[in-house]
Every structure is written in structure tokens, then in C-alpha cells.
Symmetry: C2
Subunit: 226 residues, 2 copies
Amino acid sequence: MKTLRLTSNDRAILLKSSFLGRLPRSTSEAVIEDATVSTHEEDDVLFRQGDGIDEVFVVLSGLVRLYRVGKDGREADLAVLQAGEVFAESAIFLGHHATASARAAEASIIARLDGRRLRQLAVSNPDVAQAFIELLCHRSKMVEDLLAQDRLHTAPERVANYILSNCPSGSTSFSFRLPFQKNVLAGKLGLAPEALSRAFSKLRQSGVVVRGRMIEIRDRHALERF
Amino acid sequence: MKTLRLTSNDRAILLKSSFLGRLPRSTSEAVIEDATVSTHEEDDVLFRQGDGIDEVFVVLSGLVRLYRVGKDGREADLAVLQAGEVFAESAIFLGHHATASARAAEASIIARLDGRRLRQLAVSNPDVAQAFIELLCHRSKMVEDLLAQDRLHTAPERVANYILSNCPSGSTSFSFRLPFQKNVLAGKLGLAPEALSRAFSKLRQSGVVVRGRMIEIRDRHALERF
DNA sequence: CGCGTCTTTGATGCAAGTCAATCGCCGTGG
DNA sequence: CCACGGCGATTGACTTGCATCAAAGACGCG
């Protein structure tokens, strides 16, 4: 891990991030004033569940997995975060402890915003408070979605829903590129990699073609019925 | 369902609720000024996923299940809420749509707080914004906990953890009363009732005795090891 | 071209859901 | 007071979905 300065590209991503993107430009510029940046290699651990942290993290590039570990060492993903996404935001309000561990799933660049300063801003500036509230609402909804998927759907159904969520509702046929390795997708969906593979091959008969990271949907409606 | 006025007992519960309890007394008194109250019988639906709602709900007495339904009609619980707990708080910030359905799991009394007024307060009063932020942080953590439990632990382990979470860490032996029917507990843990039953009987050999709603733990440490 | 890594496929085992039958508890009414 | 009926809880038998282990196949990169 190496610490460095903010490039102008980094600034652009920060300003469009799921948190700062909700703020008026002047405010967000002020917030990133003292941001720090660090680079991490694949598999670097950013923090562990229970660690004391007082920062909010933003992915500038790369991929971060948020997970909990069971006592046998297995890791269950709670979220997979891409450029522009924010994480660990509740730690700064909740006893300054990480509620999960975080690890780079590929080489990544991460920005950190000081927790104390953000808390001050949240009281003095209603826009900042509002942005936090909306961010947290989205976070809750994300996790609720995951939980509901886990409890209601089988592996092929979860995969179908994931594909559909990456698919514009207009067109009947469509194709897109997975934003990460199948390995990581499996984790995000709460599946073993083998189960993901089998799910894909079951979906082939509903018109889903997988080649490498490219996913092709021949008939959106066949998938929805699934 | 019947609408009625706030009793003084209701007020006391509201003021200690997970949301209003974080506010200075003068503020929280103002917030509940225009609260409305309604009673519901067991199995009454309060709202369905996707319904337009612009209120925050507080359980005054009884029990409410928050759930999503799969397309086969099965219901997966996202939370089970008791007196003093707040729900649907993110709807008022997130497009005024319920992200889940809610149903009384037993006869219940529910208070409603006007969404528009709360949003106004959240911008004008930093304390209110802060209370929302903390509430949402807790909500996220709750759901994350559930997801992690589902993904990392077997049924008996989840039940053991549930028991431990109702158990003071000091004493080695302990007993308590389930706050609701086993049926409901099963739903909350993401299990079929039969699976919960089997889990309990597996835990008997670790010193857990179940009689009706009473749970008795003979040796806390045996459970922790499980 | 060859090697390592990611992915797929196959075989097997276990956890939990489902269906069905029984049990226990409690309240009702004879 | 006891018999009955109803409902929640338990138990058993079976099925299913997924994890796991092992091996082979595909892909990318040096």
C-alpha cells in the first residue's frame, strides 16, 4: 500500500461518487479538500471487522469486496464495490468500528475522507446530512435486496435477476460485459463459483450466452419468466 | 383497522423509540405532535412492497413483520419489529415507495409520523438529521447481520447466535422468554418452522432446554463453542 | 508453445425445504 | 370434571439445492 496525492481524474470520480454526487459542487469540493489516497494490490486487506476506523472510503478505481468471516475462516460477501462507490460510511457514526472486513478484489485506488470532519459537516450543513441519509437508505435497500434474493430465489433465479438488473428494460435482446471475474460475481450472489457456472449453463436454454466476461441475452422475456 | 388518538402510554413508548429516543425531549415532543395511531388485527397488511407511502411507522404494541414476496407467493422476512421500533423510514427519502411489505404478526397498535414534516425537520434541525442517520446505520447493520448469518451459518448455529444475543454476557446459565411465537422466530431466522424445531432439539445436547416459549441455557460457553 | 489461472463438468454428501402424520397444550362446551 | 376440537410444535420420510472435492477443459500471457 502506498499513499499519494489526488489526481484530477481522481477528483472527477470523487465528485461523481454516490455520496458527493448528491452535494452542490462548492460543498463537495470542500469535502475532498483533505482527502487522502492509497493504492492497494489485489487481495490487500483495507481493514478488518472490528477495527477502529474513523474514515469514509471511496473506490476511485479497481474493486473492493466487503465481507464477514465465519469462525471456520469462510468469507461471505456483503457487497462488491466499484469506482465511485462509497463504503464504511456507518462506521463513523456507529462507534468508529468496522462492521465488516474489506479487501481489494483487484488492484485498486482508494480515497479516504476524515470522519471527524464529515460528522461536523453533517451537523453544520443540511445538504451533507441529507446526502448521508440518502446514501444510507440506498445501502439498506441494497442489502435488503441481497437478503431477499438469498431467501426467495434459487441460484439460477438469482443469476437471472442479476443479469436483468444490468439490462435496459426497453430492448428484448441485449449484451453486456461482466464488470469483474466470475469468481467475484459468485461471491456477491452468495454462491460457490461452481454453482454460478451451473446456473449459467441452466440459463443457456433460456437464451443466455456466456463467452468469457461477455453476457448475451437473446430474449429478455424468457429470462423474466424464469 | 381503526384510527384513534394517542394515549399517554403511547406517547411514552414513542418518546423512547429507536428514533425519537435519540432526540432532546423538546424536539421529540414536537415531532409526535401530529402523530396518528391505528390498531390492526393479526395478519392485517399495513402496506405492500411498491405502495406509495409518505410516513414513518412506529410499533406501539404488538408485532410487525417486514417481508418481501417471491413470485410463488412465499414470504421472506427482512425484519420483525416490536414495541418501540421504527420502520419504513427509508421510504420517505427514497421515492416514497415501500421497499417491502408489512403485516401485523399479532394484534398491534401502530403510530404514523408524517413524512413531509419529518423531511422538513431533517433539514432544519441537525438533531433530527443525526437521529435519522443513526437509525439508518443501525438498520443497515441489522440487515447485514442477517445476511451474514444466512451465508455463514447453519440453522443450529443461527439459533445458537440468536439465543446468545438475548443472553447477558456475564452469567454462565440463564433463561428467557421468546418475545413471539416460534413460527415468527423461524421466519426471522430464514428457516422453515420444522428446521427451527430440529435446530432446538440439536441444541439440547449443548444444554439448551425449550419449554413453550421459555428458553433455558445451562452453559453459555458450550453454546458459544457451537 | 507452454504454463498457470480461471472455469466448467462430474460425482458425492449434507443441509434444509416439503409433505404428512402425530403430539401436546389449551380453551370450550357438554 | 372430563371430552373434544383446534392450533402450534414436533417428528419422520423424502426430495431438492447447493457445497465440496476432484479432474479436465479453456483461456490469457509470457
